[in-house]
Structure formats: C-alpha cells, structure tokens
Subunit: 297 residues, 2 copies
DNA sequence: TTCATCGTTTTGTCCTAGACAAATATGAGA
DNA sequence: TCTCATATTTGTCTAGGACAAAACGATGAA
C-alpha cells in the first residue's frame, strides 16, 4: 500500500476541473505544481486534489481565482465557512441527527429515521421539507470534508429506494406530460427523483430518462413521446454558465410549443435564457403545473 | 430554428469522444473536417455527429478506427448488423416483443409486460432469464442503431423501478454482508441492481453504494461497515484491461479477509488478478454465497 | 494444430505554448 | 447613484510534437 498519486484524468474526474484549466492554472498561478513521472506527465497528490476542490467550491461561491491563488492556503478554509448571503444560517447544523447516523455507518438507523419522517409528514412535505434540504446539507457536509463520498452514496441510495417505493402507489396520471432527465455532464439523479415525486403528486404524467441524456436525444425523445414539457434538474455543483449555454441550445432545437423547465438546488444562480422557466422552492413545481393548466385550458 | 451547428464541446458531450481525440482524428484521418467560424473554431454539423456516433459504436464493437475511416460511409451501416462473434445467434430476435414496445414509445405497455413476466416467473427467474438477457439485447439493439439511447434510458428506468419495488418486500438479511458498487469509470447501474436482487434472494445483506465510487472510498466503506465481501459490476462496454488494473489495486488496498467478487456482462474477458472471484451465469451468485458460507462455517 | 512470446503498428492521451473571446472589474461621465 | 466604455482577468480554443498503451501479427514451442 503506497501513497496514491493521480494522473490528470483522475483529477479532472474527481474535481470537475478540465485538463485545460488545470494546466492553465499551473502555468499562470503556479498551483497546483504536481510532480512528474519519468515521462513528464503530471502526478497529483491527494492533498492537491483536496485543495483544488476547496478552490473550486470557493469560485462557485463567487470568489475569483486571482485572489484565491494569491492568499495562503489556511485562510481559504475560513472563507468557506462564511455564509453566502448574510443572515443565511449554516444548513448543516439542523441536520446533524441524520448526518451522525451516516458518520456512524448506521444504515438501517438512517433508513428507519427517513421512513419514520416520511410517515409523519406525508410524501409531499417529506420531499419538500426533509429530503430536499437534507440532500443539500449532505452535499455541503461532503464539500466541507465532514463526511466521505461513500457516505453520501449510502444516503443517496437509501433515499432513492424509499422514494421509489412510495411512488409505486401513485398510478398512471394525466396532463401535462413531462419528460424528466439531466444533461450529459450532470450525473446527480436524486434531484430528478424528488422532482418526479412532486410532479406526480400534482397529477402530471412523468417520463423519466434517468441521468445524462445527450441533448439531441432529449429533443428526439420529447418529440417521440409528444410531451408537453421537458424538465431538467441541476445540482449545486453544476457550473451555472454551462447550464445556461446548454439550456439555450436545447431551447433552440425544440419547438416553442414544448416548455422547458428547470429545477434543483443548483438553479438559483443560472441566468435563464428566454423560454425557460424555473421551478424553485416550496410552491415551485405546483405553480408551474398550475400555470400550464391555465394556459392550456 | 436554424440549421444547428455544434462546437467541439457540444460534440464531446453528445458523442462521448474527447476533444483531443476529435482533433486527432481530423489530423490523422481527415474526418470529421468541420467548417470553422470566423475565429478558426470548429463547427460540426448534425450529420457529422451522427457519423461519429456510428463510428464510436463500431469501435466499441471491436472494429479498428483505421479500417472504419478508410471504408466508405455507406458500408459502415452494414457492419453494425453483423454479430459480434461468429455462430452467436443474434440475441435481439428473441426479445423483439419488448423492443417493439420501446420503439413505439409505449412505456406503460413495456411496464405492464415486464410486470406480468415478473409475476409469472418469480423474482429470481425473472432476473436471470428475462431481465439480464433482455438488458444485453437492449444494449445490442442500441449498438446496432435499432433503438436510440433515450429508449434505452426508458427501459433502464422502468426495470430499475420495478426491481426496487420488488426488493422492498425482502427485509433485512443475514450473512455474508456485501458491499456493492462500481468503479468510477463504470456508470452502468442496472447490473448492480440485478446482482443486488440475486444476492438478497440468497439471504445476504447488501449495502449498495450505487455507481462510481472512488477506489479509496470503497476500501474505507468496506472497513467502516465491516463487510465480508466487496462486489463490483462491470458492463460489456468496460475495457477489460482497465478492469484488471483497478481490481489489482483494490485487492492491494484491502485486507485479504475481505473477499472481492465481480460480476456483470463484461466480466468474461477480464483476466482475474489473484484473490478475485467471478460470479457468472445462472448459478454464479448462489455459488459464491454458498462457498463463502462453507468457508466461514 | 494451439498457445505463448515478442516485435511492430495503430491509436489515444499528454505535453507546450500562443491566441483570443467571454466574463468581470474599474473608472469616467451623466 | 447609475450607466456605459475601457481594462483586466479568466477560460477555452488552436496547433503540432511526443510517446505510452493497446492491438496486431509473426515466430517459435508444446
């Protein structure tokens, strides 16, 4: 068991920073400056990846690379703790009960706790008031290094399983018909499932393609199934600018009669292209459905 | 809605071919040779993307780029129809009933058909004799261009939902305890779910991490949950050589007391490192569990 | 024959470094 | 204070060279 070293492909995969960008940062700012193997190829350490993740997170939060690379590593940590918008309390504290179960590896305990909460709140409130914010908190906890990625995986699997189970009792639904999926670079499927539950509770008919559908196939699928709406989910970690570009493209390829909706924790910062609607917060999905029904009465 | 043109990022996203590779093919083989915008940046047409996808499928099937770029576009289509290995009857024909439902976009029809078959066969036989071979056939049909990727997505989602639902009635189980997941480059989760069902039917306790868990996290999760076995799934499209390397690494990182099992349609061609077991075919999973129980009686 | 081994060819990924568009910050003027 | 124009920062594209890894194919042994 030796100290693991990672090549640039692995770093791209684990940080979401493109190879081009990693090389450019090295050229421009001098960090990271990974060791090289005997062929001159970059070999990154786990610590470098850790710091890159931190920097990425801070950039997502609105800081600029120039400042971040200039200041010393220690002070970066503290920046993360600052709330994004003033008066916004840390989301993590409220959920420490569930997070502790995760940290202890108590899977059945976690499952029981979720199940119990679902019973208490009912499906809609459970999704809106527990599952959605808890998922954000779990993501946040991972970002801050409080839990490991496999613990996030366990959480995700348990919740998916629970939701699928609950959804099975909701039968075939009416209009509008929605096509749900994510773009190819967005692999988080949990938000999609949450959206599916909410839309089904509003009586819509949902066709889910799962994650990572190529844009041209979304267009084709929408036409084939004659859907009224294409709904996409974006997680917090998805780059907002990328999202805007892809939405614009997709909007261009599809007839205007098919609406394009987006949702998920990562949608707030996305600048919406014309003809794209956002469904956020408690009333988001219900509102979108209601609007659609009024317009198509 | 104008004639769509795609930049290299969009092509990478929709074909799965890296920018580097797209540029290299252009340099080396002269295809694709996209138009350029006023700044010299590549602009691909939908037709070029279509052909690139075809070429990608053929390469995945075992053809070599050199040959493919040499032969004319028309003859490429016909290559897809050929069976991968001689004397192997096309698996697709046997499953045309389901495939037709997919092609017609009849989702509820598909769901009913699967449900009905599950009722008729029982869970174990359904997984072994329907779900597993049908999934291979669906993959094959996509490779041959008979269905589009979004239709494969629909199939996958319906089957997952059905299986999760069925699994919910199987409660907490006994030993051994298995950790199920895939390596970071393997995103196919259907095989994992099939394995989970089979192992649970044998009375094992399954902890699923979903897909794409970093190797070091697999190690950590295995230790944390005190599992007896780590089970990984590989799809047919996974490069066997890569699989062998990762298995060897993983075997090195983990204590010998934890067994390492692999399964899935893509395992046949993998050269097994020492200390790794393969569970293939009808009796595979049952056999592995039984062996383990004998050794740990 | 069949199988393994070793050199050769093909193929994909990494490298450097220049250019420039898009995003953001800054400052001038209303 | 706000708006617009200009400057700076930042990310992504470009080209072509290099070379590792994979696949092929020929040669020799069982």
């Amino acid at each position: 068991m030796h100290t693991p070293r990672f090549n640039i492909t692995a770093v791209e995969r684990d940080t979401g920073l493109s190879k081009d960008l990693l090389r450019m940062w090295e050229r421009r700012y001098g960090f990271p400056s990974p060791q090289r193997d005997q062929h001159g190829e970059r070999l990154y350490t786990a610590a470098e990846i850790e710091r890159l993740r931190l920097i990425k997170r801070l950039i997502d939060k609105g800081f600029r690379p120039g400042k971040l690379f200039a200041s010393d590593p220690e002070s970066l940590e503290s920046l993360l703790a600052e709330p994004t918008t003033p008066q916004m309390p840390s989301v993590i504290e409220d959920w420490n009960g569930y997070l502790d179960l995760l940290r202890q590896g108590d899977i059945s305990g976690l499952r029981d706790a979720l199940q119990q909460q679902l019973m208490r709140q009912g499906l809609q409130s459970f999704v809106l008031d527990t599952a959605a914010p808890l998922s954000v908190a779990v993501g946040e906890a991972w970002m801050q290094g409080q839990i490991r990625i496999h613990e996030e995986h366990v959480y995700s699997e348990q919740l998916k399983s629970l939701l699928r189970q609950s959804m099975a009792v909701l039968g075939e639904r009416g209009r509008p018909t929605l096509l749900l999926t994510t773009v190819p670079d967005e692999e988080h499927g949990l938000g999609l499932l949450l959206a599916e539950v909410l839309f089904m509770l509003e009586g819509a008919r949902c066709i889910s393609l799962g994650t990572r559908t190529p844009l041209l196939d979304i267009v084709d699928a929408a036409a084939r199934h004659g859907v009224d709406v294409v709904a996409l989910s974006f997680s917090t970690s998805f780059p907002p600018r990328q999202a805007a570009i892809q939405l614009k493209e997709l909007r261009d390829y599809m007839p205007a009669s098919i609406e394009l909706w987006i949702g998920g924790a990562g949608t707030e910062r996305i600048v919406l292209p014309p003809g794209v609607k956002r469904g956020m917060g408690r009333q988001g999905p219900a509102q979108l459905i209601e609007e659609w029904r009024i317009n198509h009465a």
